[in-house]
């Protein structure tokens, strides 16, 4: 039983199914990421949980209570919008104080809480600033402070880092995870993004949404170790996917030859992990197309004489157009 449960939610947009029978549970203290491309319905799911949209079917439960009759403003959730939606007519203090004023807290309490939030996001002393003069990173932190101030039970993020440049983004992702984990009252956080690096960096578990369905949900490492299907496999960079045919003798036939099968799956593709390919003296003849240094190794794209492209790893740099031979140690079957 999760603290937040999404049960069999369905939503159409312009008569096209956007979310199909989505069920999802989030445990207490967990940060879950919804990862998907634009138009996959991930933002809509977030808005449904917040109460900004109503599903045609299904319901949202929080701590076991059905939220269907609870309007947006009574859910005590926090939501950080992609465009941050800072109130342009209020200054930094008034923006952060807004949710606290809605709770009818005393002036003294509000002031103390706002200052604590500004400390938390590292912008102490920004109280009187006009929000229209903030830089992208500052605005982002103020929006986070505003979402956190009223002590939401669940905090949701809709691509909050989308507008920022990469270095700032990586910094903020790390900060965000640290901040989320140190808030005592926060029961869970839900984070929507299309960026898998961001998702894998911030989340305890990642839910991949594809074509209105959850393709896989699990820890980032799990996604890499056992992708549920070809789509999921591609996200962390497992792009060596080739048609595979299951043979009567329990082996797999691919363009690169016949391999032993780890399991039997109908309608599957063969996944070749780069680390299972050796570059050596003998094997399949190929030519180097591209060679990029990454994290201690070289990632090399090669093309075989038969015309198939493959990503392999190499300890040494290889020259473009160099002729090499590759040997594939093993393949895995992944559902198509």
């Amino acid at each position: 039983m999760g603290i937040l449960e999404v049960r069999e939610v369905e939503k159409h947009f312009d008569h096209e199914p956007l979310l199909q029978n989505i069920s999802l549970a989030i445990n207490a203290g967990e940060i879950v990421c919804l990862l998907g491309s634009s138009g996959s319905g991930k933002t809509t799911l977030l808005r449904i949980i917040a109460g900004l949209e109503t599903p045609e079917h299904g319901a949202i439960f929080f701590e076991g209570r059905d939220l269907r009759a609870t309007p947006v403003h009574a859910r005590q959730f926090g939501l950080m919008f992609q465009d941050l939606a800072l109130f342009p007519h209020k200054n930094v203090f008034e923006n952060i104080a807004f949710g606290l004023r809605m709770q009818n807290l005393s002036r003294v309490d509000i002031r103390a809480r706002v200052n604590a939030m500004l400390d938390l996001v590292g912008l102490a002393g920004f109280t009187a600033r006009d929000v229209n003069t903030l830089s992208g990173g500052e605005a982002q932190r103020i929006a986070l402070a505003r979402s956190l101030a009223p002590r939401p039970r669940l905090l949701m993020f809709d691509e909050p880092l989308g507008a920022l440049d990469r270095i700032l983004r990586e910094q903020l992702v790390a900060d965000l995870r640290a901040i989320l984990k140190q808030i005592g009252t926060l029961r869970a956080a839900l984070y929507v993004t299309h960026d898998q690096d961001e998702a894998f960096a911030i989340a305890d578990r990642v839910a991949i949404i594809h074509a209105g369905k959850i393709a896989q949900i699990g820890a980032p490492a799990e996604m890499y170790r056992a992708p549920a299907n070809a789509f999921v496999a591609q996200l962390p960079g497992l792009t060596n996917l080739f048609p595979a045919r299951w043979r009567e003798d329990g082996k797999i036939e691919t363009v690169f030859g016949v391999f032993a099968a780890d399991r039997k799956i109908e309608n599957a593709v063969a996944l070749i992990r780069p680390e299972r390919v050796r570059v050596g003296a003998s094997g399949i003849a190929a030519r180097v197309e591209e060679c990029v240094f990454r994290a201690g190794n070289y990632r090399v794209r090669v093309i075989t004489d038969a015309g198939d492209r493959l990503i392999v790893e190499s300890k040494d740099a290889l020259a473009i157009a160099e002729r090499i031979a590759i040997a594939i140690d093993a393949v895995e079957l992944v559902p198509a």
């Binding site: 917040a50 309007p71 947006v72 403003h73 859910r75 939501l79 939606a85 209020k90 807004f98 709770q103």
Partner: protein
């Protein structure tokens, strides 16, 4: 039905009761009584009225264009010190109530006017040498004075952003200065020129106060004729059919104007104004530009200054008289009461127009078909003359006719489209995410409205309110027909005083006009402040 949807019905109901219903009454009266139509064709009098209406409007428009185009050119192409202030001064006449303008021109050019008095004193004359009161000339002059700033703003604004390199290219290709202007600049300016001309024409076509007061007994436009047939002759069938003609004409003109406005978006390479302007160079340039600007300011400001000056001719006598209710007084009340009445009516109008405008603007931001249909409907009152509206009230509203609420209702109807237009851009600019963010943070829908929409709208709301105040304060056409005799507004009191013989009555009209001018000027300053740098659009 949701509460908000029910709320949207309020402006619709208001328009139905106080706009469409009176118009339908005019239609019914026009066709129910055949005498009206028969009388219309009996003599060629009404044809002459219609012809004069078009004739004076066309002539006034042309005169306004000729007078204001050089100003548009100067402000567009030259860097002038104090251009902002000079341009602000030129808008004063347009924002003045018609009755003030009419009084100003009779104070300046009338037999007792300052020009005639000065000429008589200077040349030892026995009779006033300038006799243009009650002629078409003074009407043309007043209309030019009134609409000058429309041409300046609409054409000048467009001209300022036009790339001067286009004209230079024509010059290099061998066109003389005149030919380059005629074949290049003028065609490019045409859309703005046509839009400005149409707008001025519409204002001149429906002009009422100026013609009623300055045109004398012989000259009448449609608008004046409707008023006379209703009030003086009580010939309702004829008034109704004339109103119908007026309605058809103004709607046709408004439709044309909207079309032109829509087509004005021509793919031109517009330049920032700092690039297109240059300094005055030769002595000749300086002489002509400064001379023109001085003449312009004299033309636009002396009529108003002359009212104020004339009102103090006998010290404070005219003002003191305003507080006294003479037995023979034609206002039945001390004229000063009119000031109180006007302020109370304006207050009520602001409440009505701003509340209805706010609801209507909100309805228009909804993304549904109803909003698309309602948009032009909410603008319809713009295309209806005030006298027609007042006449419709007399026909349609039965016992309500003597209600004191009729004046603020009529004023609110006139101001309503302006309020909607003032609010709509700001309302549309509020991102839905702001509402949702506030909701998620715990604000109920009512609280979201109070905390987010209202503060963001505050500036636009105050602009709408001040505009409404100015409209209500100066409104004359509809008020002349629906105001109760014992509750005159300032313009009504001025009109009655002008219609009476004697220096004391004229002096009081001057004093009341000065008061009205002062209050309008204060509202104008408030409007400028509220507007800030956003600039004005007609």
């Amino acid at each position: 039905m949701k509460l908000t949807n029910a709320l949207f019905l309020l402006p619709i109901a208001f328009l139905a009761a106080f706009y469409f219903y009176p118009l339908i009454a005019i239609l019914q009266t026009s066709f129910a009584d055949a005498r009206g139509i028969a009388e219309l064709f009996e003599s060629n009098y009404y044809a002459r009225v219609l012809a004069f209406t078009f004739f004076q409007a066309a002539l006034s428009t042309m005169l306004t264009l000729v007078a204001a185009l050089p100003a548009a050119f100067i402000f567009a192409r030259y860097e002038i010190r104090g251009a902002r202030l000079i341009r602000a001064l030129t808008t004063i006449p347009f924002l003045m109530p018609t009755l003030v303008v009419a009084t100003a021109f009779s104070a300046l050019f009338g037999p007792r006017g300052s020009i005639n008095l000065a000429l008589m004193r200077a040349f030892q004359l026995d009779a006033p040498p300038i006799q243009i009161l009650d002629t078409v000339w003074i009407i043309l002059l007043a209309h030019t004075f009134y609409n000058f700033s429309i041409v300046l703003r609409v054409v000048g604004g467009f001209w300022a952003n036009l790339d001067p390199q286009i004209e230079n290219a024509a010059r290099v290709l061998g066109a003389s200065r005149a030919r380059a202007f005629l074949h290049i600049t003028l065609p490019l300016l045409a859309p703005a020129l046509i839009a400005a001309a149409l707008l001025v024409f519409i204002f001149d076509f429906t002009s009422f106060g100026v013609i009623l007061i300055l045109g004398g007994a012989r000259l009448a436009t449609l608008e004046v004729e409707i008023y006379r047939q209703t009030v003086n002759l009580f010939n309702l069938p004829v008034a109704a059919i004339l109103s119908l003609v007026q309605l058809v004409c103004t709607f046709a003109l408004m439709t044309l104007y909207t079309r032109v406005q829509a087509r004005r978006a021509r793919p031109l390479h517009l330049r920032p104004q700092t690039i297109t302007r240059r300094k005055l160079q030769t002595a000749r340039e300086k002489f002509f530009v400064c001379g023109y600007l001085a003449a312009m300011l004299i033309f636009l400001l002396t009529p108003l200054a002359s009212i104020a000056a004339a009102s103090f001719e006998n010290g404070l006598d005219y003002y003191a008289e305003l507080f006294i209710n003479r037995r023979a007084s034609i206002t039945f009340v001390p004229p000063m009461d009119a000031v109180r009445n006007s302020l109370l009516f304006a207050g009520a109008t602001i409440v009505l127009a701003v509340a209805l405008g706010l609801i209507a603007a909100h309805a228009l931001t909804q993304k549904n078909r109803a909003a698309q249909i309602l948009d032009p409907i909410f603008m319809l009152p713009l295309g209806t003359s005030a006298v027609t509206l007042g006449f419709g009230y007399i026909l349609a509203l039965g016992n309500l006719r003597t209600s004191i609420w009729l004046v603020p209702i009529a004023h609110a109807l006139v101001a309503f489209p302006f309020v909607v237009r003032a609010l709509l851009p700001t309302l549309k600019s509020i991102q839905p995410h702001l509402h949702q963010a506030a909701q998620v943070l715990g604000a109920s829908p009512a609280r979201v409205w109070r905390e987010i929409d209202l503060p963001i709208l505050a500036r636009a709301l105050s602009i709408g309110a001040i505009f409404t105040f100015m409209i209500s304060l100066g409104e004359f056409g509809a008020t002349a027909l629906v105001a109760r005799p014992d509750l005159p507004t300032i313009p009504i009191a001025i009109y009655r005083l002008l219609g009476q013989p004697g220096l004391m009555n004229f002096g009081q009209a001057l004093a009341l006009s000065t008061i009205l001018m002062l209050v309008s000027a204060m509202a104008m300053i408030a409007l400028e402040r509220a507007r800030g740098d956003t600039g004005g659009e007609f």
